[in-house]
């Protein structure tokens, strides 16, 4: 029962994070919310017993990808005159 509540909670947050990262206008916020998504995914893997995958998701997905995305976002410029 406890696991089901945990799973439902994580899955709901997962959907919220996925939609939010597409919805927000600011790319920096989008990148950070994407990191949150990765970390929720990592919790889900760990709960299912796939600890190796969870570890990879935590280091690569939530760690390095977020840093690389943020590094890229800082160098983007909009082509507009206002």
């Amino acid at each position: 029962m406890g696991l089901e509540i945990f799973n439902t909670f994580i899955l709901l947050l997962l959907v919220v994070a996925a939609v939010t990262s597409l919805w927000v206008k600011d790319l920096l916020v989008s990148a950070v919310v994407f990191g949150v998504y990765s970390f929720l995914m990592c919790l889900l893997w760990a709960e299912m017993g796939a600890v190796d995958v969870a570890f990879t998701e935590a280091t690569v997905g939530a760690g390095i990808s977020t840093v690389v995305l943020v590094a890229t976002v800082f160098h983007l410029r909009r082509k507009s005159n206002d």
């Binding site: 570890f55 280091t59 390095i64 840093v67």
Partner: protein, 249 residues
């Protein structure tokens, strides 16, 4: 237009949800993955063949060693591709925007990082070396090691990290990782086995066939760790400085 593109998105989402009903239940013993002869072979034989308690590591580095070797090559190619694309892409652009000024590294941040980085690096070695018995291995350990250098670059500036790990050395270490992996494979071929058939290494090391594979798995994991650690840092260094490799964020 936005509403129009919503229609295929919803249709594909509904199709995926509908197709998802065919998946076996989680932990179902009668699911094809649990019943197949391959998985029962791995479950029964991994401990006997390789002496490795963590089956995931044994399958990754030994039974599917060829696959993992070229995954490492893919990581290497990704790093070199980023360098090739970004080098020279920023010629003629101003280095800084007018309103930006040079900032001193923050005292609290740098001193915290000074404390944290050695811990991260020791943990990276632990994860790398303990891949046999606990979750972890070359990829995770390598990423942690690369992350420690990224942390240095984030808290001081890119030059500080590049002084410790210049880009040429990064590429050398990354190539050495693949050479180490392929070298262990070639060595076992020269000793009379097949490529990446680590058990043949018993002929030159005083260990049993199982333990020869155990140590060879550690060797190839170190190779993977070399490549992944340096390529992660190369990726960050190039993306954060638009290929200039100076100043960074």
């Amino acid at each position: 237009m936005k509403l129009f593109s919503l229609i295929p998105v919803l249709a594909i989402g509904a199709l995926l949800l509908w197709a998802g009903q065919d998946f076996p239940k989680w932990g179902d013993l009668a699911s094809p993955a649990s019943k197949s002869s391959v998985s029962s072979h791995f479950i029964a034989k991994t401990g006997v063949d390789t002496e490795v308690p963590n089956m995931v590591t044994a399958v990754l580095a030994d039974y599917r060693g060829f696959d993992t070797m070229f995954e490492t090559v893919v990581v290497f190619i990704a790093g070199t591709a980023v360098i090739a694309i970004l080098r020279g892409s920023s010629i003629g652009r101003p280095r800084r925007k007018d309103h930006e000024v040079e900032a001193e590294p923050d005292l609290i941040v740098t001193n915290t990082v000074r404390l944290i980085v050695p811990v991260i690096q020791i943990f990276a070695f632990y994860v790398l070396a303990h891949g046999h018995v606990s979750p972890g291995g070359g990829f995770q350990g390598g990423v942690l090691m690369g992350a420690s250098f990224i942390l240095i670059a984030l808290s001081w500036d890119l030059e500080k990290a590049m002084a410790r790990f210049p880009i040429e050395r990064c590429l050398f270490v990354a190539a050495m990782g693949i050479v180490l992996y392929g070298g262990i494979g070639l060595l076992s071929m020269l000793l009379g086995g097949e490529f990446l058939d680590y058990a043949e290494l018993e002929k030159i090391f005083p260990v049993s066939r199982g333990m020869a594979r155990y140590y060879a798995i550690l060797g190839v994991e170190i190779g993977v760790g070399f490549t992944v650690a340096s390529i992660m840092f190369v990726l960050y260094a190039n993306l954060a400085s638009e290929g200039r490799l100076k100043e960074g964020l």
